[in-house]
C-alpha cells in the first residue's frame, strides 16, 4: 500500500492585483502543510504575496480530444474582435 502524501496543485499570486497562477505541484499530508511547503518550494525569491493549494484529485480537466469541439467554434467568430470593424480615422479614438 502506498503511504505517499497526496498531491496538491499550487497557485501563487505574484503581485497585488494579479490573478493566482498555477506554478506547479507538491506532496503534503494536508492543506496547512501544503501551504508551508509551497512557500518553501515556490516562493524562495519573493515570487508571491498569496498562495492557494488545491488537492490535485479535485481538479477536473477538459480532454485533449475535446479540443476541437470546445475551442474551434471561436475561431470563425472574428466579429468578436474590435479589429473586425473598419471605422474611419476621422471620427477620432474609438
Amino acid at each position: 500500500m502506498s503511504r505517499e502524501w497526496p498531491l496538491w496543485e499550487v497557485f501563487i499570486r505574484g503581485q497585488h492585483g494579479l490573478n493566482h497562477r498555477h506554478v506547479g505541484s507538491l506532496h503534503a499530508p494536508d492543506a496547512e502543510m501544503a501551504i508551508k511547503h509551497a512557500r518553501d518550494v515556490y516562493t524562495r525569491r519573493n515570487e508571491g504575496v498569496s498562495i492557494w493549494v488545491v488537492p490535485s484529485a479535485a481538479i477536473s480537466a477538459s480532454r485533449p480530444s475535446e479540443k476541437g469541439p470546445l475551442f474551434e467554434p471561436a475561431e470563425s467568430k472574428i466579429y468578436r474582435h474590435p479589429t473586425f470593424y473598419d471605422i474611419p480615422d476621422d471620427i477620432g479614438h474609438m
Binding site: S2, W5, S25, L26, P29, D30, M33, R44, A61, P64
Partner: protein, 328 residues
C-alpha cells in the same frame, strides 16, 4: 549531464510510424509542447521518466557534497549562501519529480528505484568535497556544466519538463556565480589558498567534463531523443562549449587547467582538449566511484529515518479531517 546515458527507445522514420506516432512527431517538429494528457508514444513516456527522474535524483543527491561544508563555511555570509544554494537544489529536485509524476510514475516509485540502484544520478556527485575550495569548484564547474545543458532544455518538447527547466535556470545562475566568487577570493588569497583553489580545479576538471556523457560516437540513444526534442544538443557539442567558456575563466583566476593537451585551435574556433578517462566514468556509473556507497547510503538513511515523520503527519491529517467531518 545531470541525466547521463539515458536509454531511449527505438528510432523510426516518418514512413514507418503509425498515424498517431506521425502526428505526434509532426507536433514536435512544429515546436508544439506535449502536455501530460496528450497522446504520446510509450517510448517517449518511458525515456522522459528515466531522464527527468535521473535529473531529479541528481539534484537531491547533489545536496550531499555541499551539505558537507555548511557547518564549516568560513564566514556566516558564506554559510547563508551555501544553505540557500543547497535549499535550491532540493527545490529543483522537487520541480523535476513533479514533472516526472505527470507521466504516470509515482514519487515513491522513483525514490524506490533510486534507493535500489535501478535509477542513476549524475556521476559527478560521487566525488568527495575535501576542502572549502571544492565549494568554489563545484559551483563554478559543476553548476556551470549543468547550466550549459539546462538552458537549451528550456525549449524541450514536454511542457512540464520545459517549465521546470525555466524555473531552474532562473535560479541556477546564482549557483555558478557564488562558486566563481569563492574561487576568486581564494585565487587572490595567500599562497596556501591559491594552492587549494588549484587543487580543487585539478580534481574537478575531468569529472566535470564527464558530466556531459560519453562521446557522441559512443552515445547510442542521442538520435531518438533529439528527434523528440528531449535532448537538444549532442554531448560533444556541449562539452566543447563548456571548455571554451571555462578556460578563459580559469586564466582570469590565474589557475591552470590540468590538461597538457589544451590548445586553442584557430581553425575550429575552439580549444582542443584531452578527453576524460572514460573507463573511470563507467566505473563511477557502475557504482564504484569514490563516494557512491556513502551518497546512496545517506539517501536511504534519510528516507528510512524520516518514515515516522511522514506517517505521523499523514495520521494527524487523517484524524483532523475526520474530526472536521464529524463536527459538520
Amino acid at each position: 549531464m545531470y541525466a547521463q546515458m539515458v536509454k531511449s527507445e527505438g528510432m523510426k522514420s516518418l514512413d514507418e510510424m503509425s498515424p498517431e506516432e506521425r502526428a505526434f512527431q509532426e507536433r514536435i517538429d512544429r515546436g508544439e509542447k506535449i502536455e501530460p494528457r496528450d497522446w504520446m508514444p510509450e517510448g517517449y513516456r518511458k525515456t522522459l521518466i528515466r531522464q527527468i527522474g535521473q535529473h531529479a535524483h541528481s539534484e537531491i543527491v547533489g545536496q550531499l557534497p555541499e551539505g558537507n561544508w555548511i557547518t564549516r563555511a568560513p564566514t556566516l555570509e558564506r554559510k547563508a549562501i551555501l544553505l540557500a544554494k543547497v535549499q535550491d537544489e532540493a527545490g529543483h529536485g522537487l520541480y523535476l519529480y513533479c514533472a516526472a509524476e505527470t507521466l504516470g510514475v509515482s514519487r515513491d516509485e522513483l525514490l524506490e528505484k533510486l534507493h535500489s540502484g535501478k535509477m542513476k544520478y549524475s556521476s559527478i556527485f560521487n566525488y568527495p568535497t575535501l576542502t572549502w575550495a571544492d565549494m568554489g569548484a563545484v559551483g563554478w564547474l559543476v553548476d556551470g556544466a549543468a547550466i550549459m545543458n539546462q538552458v537549451p532544455l528550456q525549449r524541450t518538447s514536454y511542457g512540464p519538463y520545459s517549465r521546470a527547466m525555466i524555473r531552474i535556470c532562473k535560479e541556477e545562475s546564482f549557483h555558478q556565480r557564488q562558486g566563481y566568487h569563492i574561487m576568486m577570493k581564494l585565487a587572490r588569497g595567500t599562497e596556501a589558498q591559491k594552492r587549494m583553489a588549484q587543487d580543487a580545479l585539478n580534481r574537478f576538471w575531468y569529472p566535470s567534463l564527464m558530466m556531459f556523457g560519453p562521446s557522441d560516437k559512443d552515445s547510442v540513444h542521442s538520435a531518438q531523443s533529439m528527434a523528440w526534442k528531449i535532448k537538444m544538443n549532442t554531448n560533444d557539442e556541449l562539452r566543447q562549449k563548456f571548455v571554451d567558456q571555462t578556460v578563459p575563466q580559469a586564466e582570469y583566476l590565474g589557475l591552470t587547467v590540468p590538461d597538457e593537451g589544451l590548445r586553442w585551435n584557430d581553425e575550429k574556433g575552439g580549444y582542443d582538449f584531452t578527453e576524460p578517462d572514460w573507463s573511470e566514468f563507467f566505473e563511477v556509473i557502475k557504482g564504484n566511484g569514490p563516494c557512491n556507497k556513502e551518497r546512496l547510503g545517506a539517501r536511504v538513511q534519510a528516507w528510512e529515518g524520516g518514515a515516522w515523520v511522514r506517517d505521523g503527519l499523514m495520521a494527524h491529517a487523517k484524524k483532523h479531517a475526520a474530526a472536521k467531518l464529524a463536527a459538520e
